[in-house]
């Protein structure tokens, strides 16, 4: 019996090749999209799920309350050990520092620029399930100047040699390799290439960190003895703050407080809105894309349902014959369901091939490194089987129900239910496809609008033609750099060069200042930047009041501050900001290392991504000893200038790579998540439009086949091609308009919610919606044009003779 069904199914597919192609290809695209999206979703949801003690590991974060609030993923140096000491339920802790900046590793004279080298505690291997391949877990990171490398970094530095006991220079510190650990799984929120012992940090620095509760710079993870009650423990942390932080603040005359929070390690990947956090996943994108996957699958299933129903007329005779020969309704249901399962399986196989084809593009867009092999892991296979069963049974059940209930007496007489037009159900299904396609098109356009808005918005400085160069951290080489910089300043293609402490465009530090308010100095955390006197010129900023830094005025280095206009207003100084007192490098008793006055007010510029609103900003003067250059190049072709720079660099620092970025590219990285989401949205929009177009194409050709006599008669009676085409497509056109009416409010609502993520956004243009509709009409038009062409070429008598 099954063999008989199989034969019929395959022969039917072979006979109706074009419809079979549309059904199978559409389903394959849908299945492939689903596989890719679910791979992404499962991967995102699996972050840090591999720690054996994962259910007991929590990350500490702090809400710092001064003048305003700062919520940070980083915590202070003291919290981890103090909590472990005071609370019996806290079993252990581990802290990480650094990591995000570039570190230069040196073996003999060879330099390897690396990222993700962290300072950490020796407890790291007790808390985290990092797999130490060589070395002793408990002791590897106890001694100062010891380092554990990941397997791949070890291979990069030492090849296949044994690395244990070997020396590596890390920036200016020599370290001994005391262990090699397996590379971290890809789904680790905190990427690691190497771990330096925390004790490598100079003792004095550690002491400074330890005594200052507001000096935050460490990711701290707490290991509990059993899964804690989060709110219960956070209440205890209030007492902790009162016991340690408050007395210290009072002693140092600081009006400030802290709230401590804990987050389970497996949820850390999705925590949003914390300052100084590592790049994060976005749970709302996970939901969005999961929904997209399901919708695309529904679209493909709709094609299958519609085409099965449209082919019902052809299958009716078979149903009639089988029933007269004794087939029960159940037999036929089984047959048709089996058929749809078989087709789904074929589509799944094709879908796997499509997945392989799309994999590289998908990886490029999402920044993942999936391979087709990962589709065959148990979770994904289970998902695939689930998809096949769901689609096969859901998409198959309605046609199966309809086809199997045909009455043999009627169908054998040639009376086919629903012959001729496209039924209400089919229209409703097409409406769903139109709604979704329009939604995707509109979404793509609106996301594009916002991206374009951010790309072209006036940021308050000139972002073009600015180069950021990082100087070698190695002090020996560093000594040779001033000569190079001098050459650079005098070079023809260079307009100006500024020294800074961190790369411009790569974020800012936030430090505690004291500012004069109503004659009293009050503590306030302010975003700040350290630079020399050229910074204002290099970025093309305007001084609204006062003057720029001046290297010839000796007091500028410790007694001068430049603020932005926003700060002047926020601190209540308005147009009278000059000479207001500020302090930085705060000490007890109102003392500070830098105690001086506002010497200038510059225009507001967006030093943060446009996700964040404008904030007060302070520029501090630090003319020497900084490791970043911000260079304004003369407009035009600067490839020669850069080539010359590199040549000179290579002469001076042959072992150090000439590393540079362009400011506009760095700024674009702020929107990477949105850009990849936008691109992904784009791709899936194309896929869903393609599926809908295929379905429309096939259904229309059925509709024409069924109405061929009507078309013939109309032609004989003098109808033009346009008349006939309109009769055939008007239903679809009205459906498209209905879809537009349904989609627009949903799009407006969803886009407004998405735009809430940005402090600066473009309003939704009505023209974007109209454009989406026109695009959809154009796409439908292209789909339909083939049929119109065929009708216009056909001879009316053929149509009549056909009957």
């Amino acid at each position: 019996m099954i063999q008989n069904f199989l034969k019929i199914t395959l022969r039917n597919l072979a006979r109706n090749r074009s419809y079979a192609f549309i059904s199978v290809f559409g389903l394959a695209l849908g299945i492939s999209s689903c596989l890719l999206i679910f791979m992404y979703v499962f991967d995102e949801l699996s972050y840090d799920n591999y720690h054996e003690k994962g259910d007991r590991i929590y990350r500490l974060s702090i809400v710092n309350n001064f003048q305003g609030q700062m919520v940070t993923a980083l915590s202070n140096y003291g919290a981890g050990p103090t909590l472990t000491n005071d609370y019996p339920e806290v079993e252990n802790y581990v802290r990480f520092r650094g990591g995000n900046g570039e570190v230069q590793l040196m073996i003999d004279d060879k330099v390897f620029p690396e990222t993700n080298i962290w300072l950490t505690d020796s407890t790291v291997f007790d808390v985290m399930s990092y797999n130490l391949l060589v070395g002793e877990k408990r002791t590897a990171l106890v001694a100062p100047q010891t380092i554990v490398l990941t397997q791949s970094l070890k291979e990069k530095l030492f090849g296949s040699e044994d690395a244990l006991g070997k020396q590596v220079k890390v920036n200016n510190t020599m370290a001994t390799v005391t262990g090699v650990m397996a590379d971290l799984p890809k789904n680790s929120d905190m990427p690691i290439n190497g771990l330096l012992s925390m004790t490598t940090m100079p003792e004095q620095a550690r002491a400074t960190f330890l005594q200052d509760w507001f000096r935050i710079g460490f990711y701290t993870f707490i290991l509990f003895d059993q899964k804690p009650d989060v709110s219960d423990f956070e209440t205890k942390l209030k007492a902790f703050e009162e016991k340690y932080v408050q007395p210290w603040a009072e002693e140092n005359q600081i009006v400030a407080g802290q709230e401590y929070k804990i987050t389970p390690i497996e949820e850390v990947h999705f925590v949003q809105g914390l300052d100084f956090d590592l790049p994060k996943g976005n749970i709302s994108y996970i939901w969005t894309f999961s929904l997209l996957a399901i919708f695309i699958l529904i679209m493909a299933s709709i094609n299958y349902i519609n085409l099965s129903l449209a082919q019902g007329a052809k299958r009716a005779k078979e149903v009639g014959v089988r029933k007269t020969l004794g087939a029960m309704k159940g037999d036929l249901m089984t047959q048709f369901l089996g058929e749809s399962l078989l087709i789904t399986v074929i589509a799944a196989v094709l879908g796997l091939a499509i997945t392989e084809l799309l994999m590289n593009t998908f990886n490029d867009v999402t920044g993942k490194t999936f391979t087709i092999a990962e589709v065959f892991n148990p979770t994904m296979m289970f998902t695939l089987i689930g998809i096949i069963l769901l689609v096969g049974l859901l998409a198959g059940s309605y046609p199966a129900l309809i086809l199997s209930s045909f009455k043999p007496v009627r169908v054998l007489k040639g009376v086919i239910p629903n012959e001729g037009g496209v039924g209400t159900l089919q229209k409703s299904l097409i409406l769903i496809q139109f709604v979704f396609s329009l939604f995707m098109i509109t979404g793509t356009i609106l996301i594009g609008d916002q991206m374009e808005f951010m790309r072209t918005m006036n940021l308050g400085f000139d972002r073009e033609n600015v180069m950021i160069i990082s100087l070698p951290a190695d002090t020996n080489v560093g000594k040779r750099m001033p000569a190079w910089i001098e050459q650079l300043e005098n070079s023809e293609g260079v307009v100006a060069v500024a020294h800074t402490n961190v790369p411009t465009g790569g974020g800012t530090a936030e430090l505690m200042f004291r500012v004069e308010r109503d004659g009293v100095l009050t503590e306030q955390n302010i975003k700040c930047f350290f630079a020399d006197e050229h910074f204002v010129e290099v970025l093309g900023l305007d001084m609204l009041q006062g003057r720029n830094f001046n290297a010839e005025i000796a007091t500028d280095e410790t007694q001068a501050f430049i603020i932005n206009d926003y700060a002047a207003k926020a601190f209540g100084w308005g147009d009278d900001a000059l000479d207001k007192r500020m302090q930085w490098g705060l000490m007890a008793n109102g003392q500070a290392t830098n105690d001086g006055k506002v010497i200038g007010v510059m225009n507001n510029f967006h030093f943060l991504s446009l996700h964040k609103p404008m904030e007060p900003f302070v520029l501090c003067f630090n003319p020497g000893g900084m490791n970043m250059l911000t260079v304004r190049l003369a407009a035009g072709d600067f490839t020669k200038t850069i080539a010359a720079m590199e040549e000179e660099w290579n002469e001076l620092a042959p072992n150090h790579e000439f590393n540079f970025n362009f400011l506009d590219e760095l700024l674009d990285q702020n929107y990477q998540q949105e850009q990849s989401m936008g691109k992904l949205f784009n791709y899936f929009a194309v896929i869903s439009v393609l599926i809908a177009a295929l379905g429309l194409f096939a259904l229309l050709s059925f509709s024409i086949q069924n109405r061929i006599k009507e078309i013939g008669i109309r032609k004989v009676l003098g109808a033009s091609v346009a008349n006939i085409s309109w009769i055939l497509v008007r239903d679809f056109f009205y459906l498209l308009l209905a879809a537009f009416a349904l989609t627009t409010p949903v799009c407006i609502w969803l886009m407004n919610r998405w735009l809430e993520d940005f402090a600066y956004d473009t309003p939704l243009h009505p023209m974007s919606f109209v454009l989406a509709l026109l695009l959809a009409i154009a796409l439908a038009g292209i789909t339909i044009s083939y049929h119109v062409f065929r009708i216009s070429k056909s001879d009316p008598i053929n149509a009549l003779r056909y009957e």
Partner: protein, 230 residues
């Protein structure tokens, strides 16, 4: 074998009520070959469909082998049909996607017969209707007469007690038509009861008795053998 008692069939649409069968009573004995004739719309095919359990009467009784089957549900009707009745249609109604062999095999599949047994029975049957050499062909590759022979082979493959034929020669030229009628006659001679709807007096002459219908009622019943004798 078949007996109808006051059989009525009324088709209702929104505005019109059409009586297809009107208190029709008749009987067909086991081993008979009966033709049903009459003008278009007189209820011939409706009667055949009701006898074949493809349609149910509005009222009245249908007795099949002594059992009143008019109240049977779909499941029982399908069961009765596949064990006892074979159908031959004017338009053959072969499944285009299945080969000759597979078409003929189908009733045995639904009866749950094993593969080797099916193969044996089908091959023998195809030889008997003279189409064994075309077993692997598909219906469209055959002439009309050949297709109807396949359809008859399919109708009798499960050795039904009763064959219902609805204008079996309607789509055939006279030579092929005669072949089909001779085949039916042979089957009847081997003991199969046949009820045939036809427009053709020529075909009716192959049967032993003719029932004429008019407006859903039996108007005459004539024995063709008697006609021959006269």
């Amino acid at each position: 074998m078949i007996k109808t008692v006051n059989l009525n069939k009324v088709y209702r649409t929104e505005d019109v009520e059409t009586t297809a069968l009107n208190n029709l009573s008749m009987e067909v004995k086991e081993g008979e070959f009966v033709s049903i004739m009459g003008e278009s719309g007189c209820g011939k095919s409706t009667l055949l469909n009701i006898i074949g359990l493809l349609d149910s009467p509005t009222s009245g009784q249908l007795i099949f082998d002594g059992t009143d089957v008019s109240g049977f549900g779909e499941r029982k009707r399908a069961e009765l049909r596949k064990r006892n009745i074979g159908f031959v249609f004017q338009s053959f109604n072969l499944i285009d996607e299945l080969s000759v062999f597979e078409n003929v095999e189908l009733p045995l599949v639904y009866l749950g017969k094993g593969k080797s047994e099916r193969k044996e029975i089908v091959s023998a049957m195809l030889d008997r209707v003279g189409i064994g050499h075309r077993a692997k062909h598909f219906p469209q590759q055959l002439s009309g007469g050949q297709q109807q022979r396949v359809a008859i082979a399919r109708a009798v493959i499960a050795s039904p007690k009763l064959i219902l034929a609805d204008e079996p020669t309607g789509n055939l030229d006279s030579a092929h038509g005669n072949e089909v009628m001779e085949l039916l006659t042979q089957l009847n001679e081997q003991g199969t009861t046949i009820i045939m709807v036809t427009h053709s007096q020529h075909d009716a002459n192959f049967s032993s008795r003719t029932i004429r219908l008019l407006d859903g009622q039996v108007v005459t019943e004539t024995s063709n053998r008697v006609v021959d004798a006269i």
